[in-house]
Amino acid sequence: MSLSGAWYLGLAAVVFSIGTLGLLVRRNVLVMFMCVELMLNAVNLTFVTFSRMLDDIGGQALVFFTLVVAAAEVVVGLGIVVAIFRRRRSATADDFHIMRG
């Protein structure tokens, strides 16, 4: 008998909160992206935990799609970072105001 799912859910909530904190506090855009990855991983952990608790494979399928979306998000986000870095020579969030229309 493996561990109760509540432990996993609690851990995932804490990791999600740490990711949120990093997203709010840090100014380097790359580190902010990493914090988004932290939040996505916490949600993945809850999906897998619910998949085990409810004996439903749908949670794991959802994690599968989350991985794909995360990969696409990182690719496009880093492309934007590179494009802005070419203009501004820095990659803090304050430089992104040049994206306004």
Partner: protein, 243 residues
Amino acid sequence: MMVTPLFAATTVDALTFAVAAAIVLAGAIGVVVARNPVHAALMLVMTLFGVAVLFVEQQANFLAAVQVIVYAGAIVVLFLFVIMFLGVDREENVAEEPLRGQRPLAVVLVVLGLAGLLLMGFGAHWSVGARSVAGASRNASGGDVAALGRSVFTTYLFAFEVTSALLVIAVVGAVVLARRPGAVRPGPDPDTDADAMPAPITGSDTTGAQEEEPPADADAGGDADGGAVARSGAEPHSEEVSP
């Protein structure tokens, strides 16, 4: 929901969870507090491995393998590549606070949110419903890989196809975003592009391709073709082409 004590499970499971949870938390905190982005990326790898261990612990073996391959093998490598490509791996001045009072406010908000989440999850029976009666079982024959494959290609087939479209769009978007502005339009001379930039930089120090353009407009007709050909190759070698 009842929180059973850790030692109610078998010792190996409890120990594995404790070690993996410690790794995950240490990595997550490290991502937030690391000054150097490279250190943050390596801390992120640590967290991802810990999450993969927790996946294995819950019999999600395929997802654990994919987690290591895709996240640690592709996404973090992409992060590190961009960090080193841009040269932003110098230390950030964390003590500098551009918005007054932002950090205490963020901490208060996050702690409140976490408290609410835990209260709703563990106090109010909010986060768990009845057991599934519609979805495919996780313990079908063939293990989690067969069950996941069957589910993805039957129940979630449309989402799977949409995902492929999303990946194609992401690839096209990355290529469009990452190529140099001079390579898109070979027609006009790059000086007007440099003037259109909001950054206060002149043509001499923006990109290497513009350094070697002749400054005179008199021979723009003759040289624009050569420059256009060199730039439309869209290769990094075009910087070294001297007119």
